[in-house]
């Protein structure tokens, strides 16, 4: 739904900070021809008098879109929408152009020159605002049970909390009675079962509650749908799949502990794993004697060691209480902190439990009946006597159950290790609606049983919050991403590369059905839209068409030696603006266009900028992998730039006209150096030639970037959210690159042929002359195109067909 807009432009003098550096009346003069209903230059639009002036202009001219040329959108993005909400102006209806930090404060050029730059940036904003589309938010139903998957113990706490608030849930569990669950608890929480008495109570309440349906775990075939309407396919024993529906999913996953490798110690029956001990404790065997718990396995990290030490402490306390003849000692490495309180230590002392630390750099040595260790206090070797030696378990990799769920939910192993994390996208809190992805349990980080139960309770509260909103009719899904079902061919590339879960999965084997979106999870990163081979995905108010219009408008007003720069909304934008705050300057021949993430830039935008005559492009984003806010957005951008470089060199232009730079949020100096360096490098190059031959080539490059086959190949080579392999270190990097080059070459030639034939029908030798290519490379492509019906034979000339555009 598109509405014709009345755009108001407000330029800020900022108390002289902008008006002294930029000739604002000249900017207004330069913007005379642009589509705008109102333009005003105000001393301080952001202060109360300025807002009052804006309000009266909005009322008088019926403005519904505003462009504010002032300071950073980051600090002002709440001020204006909040103040102007009474006039019916929302956040997306306001565009900010940062004249202060992108123009006024960072350049030494004259106010008149800077006015031209400011006018270009504002014109870009106007072009983009002009294409604003409005979508009505969708009201979501929220009626049905909650699905609690994963079988973690936190699921029980969640189910109890939900049941107590009158909400139904379906709980998938490994064992079907409270006793069985308790018996198996030590596999995930060693040392905890005997200590946390209320777990049993929770379990009994959950199993008996009429609102909780406890069913045995079954293999998950698929999870589809989104908030309010999730559907989980369960594979039955007979191979059929049954579907269970729910309004929300709570994923409760616990990390299992596997018995440590104790074979190397020997000692036969006197050396136990913690699991052995727990099994015996359940049976009630507490033998008298000296028991030493040795917290070892530093390779699993300090968190695991701390957890093991606490588990050992709990078990030793229990044993000492049951049988005063037991003398337990917990030997732990000195570089961990025991999360024990003073009261805990007093109790330990009262029961004769000894807590002893050892210097971690010197491995303790086991002897028959003795364990020698170096004390960190006096660097002296001490010995502790044992009758039974117990080695705590070590955390194992995510279970098969977890892997099954990860296939369908945006939860990923952190740094390729065993710890799972929810999609780690970090955004402004106001960019995301309510939390709707609930992930609990020790699989997200080793922690105590009590904490895990708390997590479960918290997740349930989150679901209840959603239900409350639904009851009040406030549960609406914002439209962030929209898939056009007419254009979507159901290839599924977007689902594969989506890091946030915003694009829903479809049932396996359901064929090529159009994708749907779960906007509660969508982060608006936009790499899906830039990838889609059929250009069916739109990021609301941030569409490729809007960016295209902006780039066209800005480039149209640039001089031929100036360059365009896309900066990402995090590292790039922050560093660029901080350069202004710090008082750094750089040449004014670089025009900054902020985007949310570089990954949202459609490859065709790059080619469009060149087609419109820009001399060069710089893209500044966050450092890949660890600081990109959208997983691999900047990485995806790299692939697109790479394709652009290849096409430039195919057209005989310089590859170095386009470059990607990486800058962190706190690196203004690096940003300035990057901009200067790219400007320097391009200074030696001539402006882009504007003759017909080059223009035809640039047109062909642009057409190539729109070609579904090219976009498909580009999309398949992008890094997936679960992948950790860098583009450079992939297997057969050169071969993969050459495949891409072949596809680009072929499609580029097709585009050039189409361009040439759009002027006049030509025979292969004539085409070869026009395109300056040998006939033999064109012939197979022409034959293919003719077979596909993209070109037709108009006639014959000296036994050569004359090809023309159009259908046969």
């Amino acid at each position: 739904m598109k509405t014709e807009g009345q755009i108001g432009v407000f330029l800020c003098e900022c108390g002289g900070k902008i008006s002294s550096r930029v000739d604002l009346p000249l900017v207004a003069e330069l913007l005379k021809e642009e589509p705008r209903a109102h333009l005003a230059i105000l001393p301080y639009p952001c202060l109360a008098p300025g807002l009052a002036a804006m309000k009266s202009a909005i009322q008088a001219k019926k403005l519904d879109r505003l462009l504010i040329g002032g300071c950073s959108s980051r600090v002002m993005k709440k001020r204006f929408p909040e103040a102007l909400a009474s006039m019916g102006i929302e956040r997306h209806q306001i565009d900010f152009i940062n004249l202060k930090d992108h123009v006024a404060a960072v350049h030494e050029a004259s106010p008149q020159e800077l006015a031209h730059k400011a006018a270009a940036l504002v014109a870009g904003g106007l072009a983009s605002l002009n294409l604003l589309e409005q979508y009505e938010p969708v009201s979501l139903p929220f009626d049905g049970p909650v699905l609690i998957l994963g079988g973690g113990v936190s699921g029980f706490a969640a189910a109890r909390e939900l049941a107590r608030h009158g909400m139904e849930s379906i709980l998938f569990v490994k064992s079907l009675s409270p006793e069985r669950v308790l018996d198996e608890l030590h596999q995930t929480f060693p040392g905890c079962r005997l200590f946390c008495g209320d777990v049993g109570e929770i379990l009994r309440e959950v199993f008996a509650h009429p609102l909780v349906k406890v069913i045995p775990e079954q293999p998950i075939e698929y999870i589809i749908g989104g908030v309010g309407d999730y559907r989980v396919g369960l594979k039955q024993g007979d191979g059929n799949v049954t579907e269970v529906g729910g309004v929300a999913i709570i994923t409760a996953l616990d990390r299992e502990f596997s018995p440590p490798e104790i074979g190397y110690i020997g000692g036969g029956d006197r050396v136990w794993t913690m699991q052995d001990l727990e099994d015996r404790l359940v049976e009630g065997h507490v033998q008298p004697g000296r028991v030493v718990f040795w917290v070892n396995s530093p390779q699993h990290g300090q968190a695991a060691q701390q957890f093991a030490a606490v588990a050992a402490w709990r078990d030793s306390l229990l044993m000492a209480r049951e049988n005063p003849q037991v003398k337990p000692t917990v030997l732990y490495p000195a570089n961990i902190t025991l999360p024990l309180t003073g009261a805990d230590l007093v109790e330990a002392r009262a029961h004769g439990v000894s807590l002893q630390s050892y210097a971690p750099e010197l491995h303790p040595v086991v002897q028959s009946g003795y364990l020698s260790f170096v004390s960190p206090g006096d660097h002296l070797e001490h010995e502790v006597e044992w009758d039974t030696l117990i080695i705590p378990g070590v955390p194992s990799d995510p279970a098969a159950k977890a892997k099954e769920l990860l296939r369908w939910l945006p939860i990923y192993p952190e740094n390729g290790g065993g710890v799972l994390k929810k999609s780690h996208i970090k955004l402004w809190p106001d960019q995301l609606p309510d939390e709707s992805l609930f992930f609990t349990g020790s699989a997200g980080g080793i922690c105590d049983l009590n904490e895990v139960l708390q997590q479960g309770k918290k997740a349930a509260r989150g679901v209840l919050h959603l239900r409350q909103k639904a009851l009040e009719n406030r549960l609406v899904s914002p439209v962030v991403v929209h898939v056009d079902p007419d254009l979507c061919e159901g290839c599924g590339l977007c689902t594969e590369i989506c890091p946030c879960g915003g694009i829903e999965h479809v049932k396996p084997g359901s064929g090529a059905v159009p994708r749907e979106t779960d906007n509660h999870l969508c982060s608006g990163g936009g790499t899906c839209a830039a990838t889609c081979p059929y250009e069916a995905i739109k990021v609301l108010n941030n569409t490729a068409q809007q960016l295209e219009a902006r780039v066209k408008a800005v480039v149209g007003r640039m001089q031929e030696h100036e360059i365009l720069s896309f900066i990402c909304g995090w590292g790039g934008l922050s560093s660029a603006e901080q350069a202004a705050v710090k008082g750094l300057t750089y040449p004014s021949g670089i025009y900054l266009i902020p985007v949310n993430c570089l990954g949202s830039i459609d490859p065709s935008i790059l080619s469009l900028a060149f087609l419109n005559g820009v001399k060069g492009i710089l893209l500044a984003g966050c450092t890949p992998t660890h600081s990109c806010h959208y997983h691999y957005g900047v990485d995806h951008c790299w692939y697109r730039v790479n394709a652009m470089k290849k096409l430039l060199s195919l057209a005989g232009l310089e590859r170095r006209r386009i470059a990607v730079g990486y800058v962190e949020v706190n690196e203004p100096d690096s940003f300035v150096r990057m901009a200067e360096s790219h400007l320097d490098a391009l200074e030696k190059l001539p402006p882009l030639p504007r003759d017909d031959r080059t223009m035809a080539k640039l047109w062909a490059i642009h057409a190539t970037m729109h070609r579904p086959r090219v976009r498909w190949v580009l999309g398949t080579s992008l890094r997936r959210p679960t992948e950790k392999v860098f583009p450079g270190s992939q297997i057969n990097a050169v071969e993969a690159d050459e495949t891409m080059l072949d596809v680009l070459k072929e499609e580029y030639t097709v585009s050039r042929i189409l361009k040439a034939l759009s002027d006049q029908p030509l025979s292969p030798p004539d085409l070869a002359r026009v395109l300056e290519e040998p006939v033999r490379t064109l012939t197979p492509i022409l034959t293919d195109m003719s077979k596909e019906g993209r070109i037709v034979t108009k006639g014959w000339e000296k036994s050569y067909p004359i090809y023309a555009l159009g259908k046969a």
Binding site: G15, P43, Y44, C46, L47, A48, P49, G50, A52, S72, R74, V75, M76, K77, K78, R79, K426, L427, W428, P429, D430, W570, L573, S574, S575, E577, Q578, V581, K582, S627, H629, V665, N666
Partner: protein, 191 residues
């Protein structure tokens, strides 16, 4: 509509405006450190003081929070006001001698380091709280806070532990008037 005067010039304003808003709108500059248009007025630095005559008496008030009223007379640079500002700048200069803004102000007011100067102090941060308030009010996260009290007051992450709340948006860096945040940033953000 409210009619009043600033520096003997008759001006008009609306209910809810502050003296600082009105003065800046009419091109009269009032120095300030802790005021930012995107944040609620805070009233910490007291540098934006002006003299207000409400017909009964004259008082020195902070303009960033003082609402305009009918008939008041505002004077922004009387000797009394300048004297107050000079003392404030004096104390701020001793507290944070490396802040470029405060050095600038010290130059304007002819202030030099005084006998109150602490030895070995080179803070650039003058604790205006813009970063803390921006983090809460603009970003909506609580990754920054004031730590300690009195002379030991500082900007830090909650509990002095690298903040997991931080989204690395850089708003605090942008809003910091002294550049002190640039050095603090990596301590505050969780690794």
């Amino acid at each position: 509509m409210i009619t009043f005067s600033i520096n003997d010039k008759e001006v008009q304003g609306e209910e809810g405006w502050t003296v600082l808003d009105a003065a800046r709108w009419h091109g009269i500059d009032i120095p300030s450190l802790c005021h930012h248009p995107c944040l609620e007025p805070y009233g910490a630095c007291r540098l934006c003081v002006v003299e207000v005559d409400d017909g009964r008496r004259t008082r020195v008030v902070i303009s960033c929070m003082y609402p305009i009223k009918d008939g008041i007379k505002v004077m922004t640079a009387t000797p009394r006001v300048n004297n107050v500002r000079r003392w404030i700048v004096q104390l701020l200069l001793d507290e944070s001698p490396n802040s470029p803004q405060i050095r600038e102000l010290a130059k304007t007011f002819g202030v030099t380091p005084s006998r109150f100067k602490k030895s070995g102090v080179d803070f650039a941060c003058h604790l205006c709280g813009l970063c803390v308030r921006a983090c809460h009010e603009v970003v909506g996260t609580k990754a920054l806070t004031f730590g300690n009290r009195g002379l030991k007051k500082e900007i830090t992450s909650p509990f002095h532990v690298g903040s997991k709340e931080c989204i690395s948006c850089g708003t605090c860096l942008y809003i910091c008037p002294t550049g002190a945040m640039e050095k603090l940033f990596d301590q505050i953000r969780a690794a």
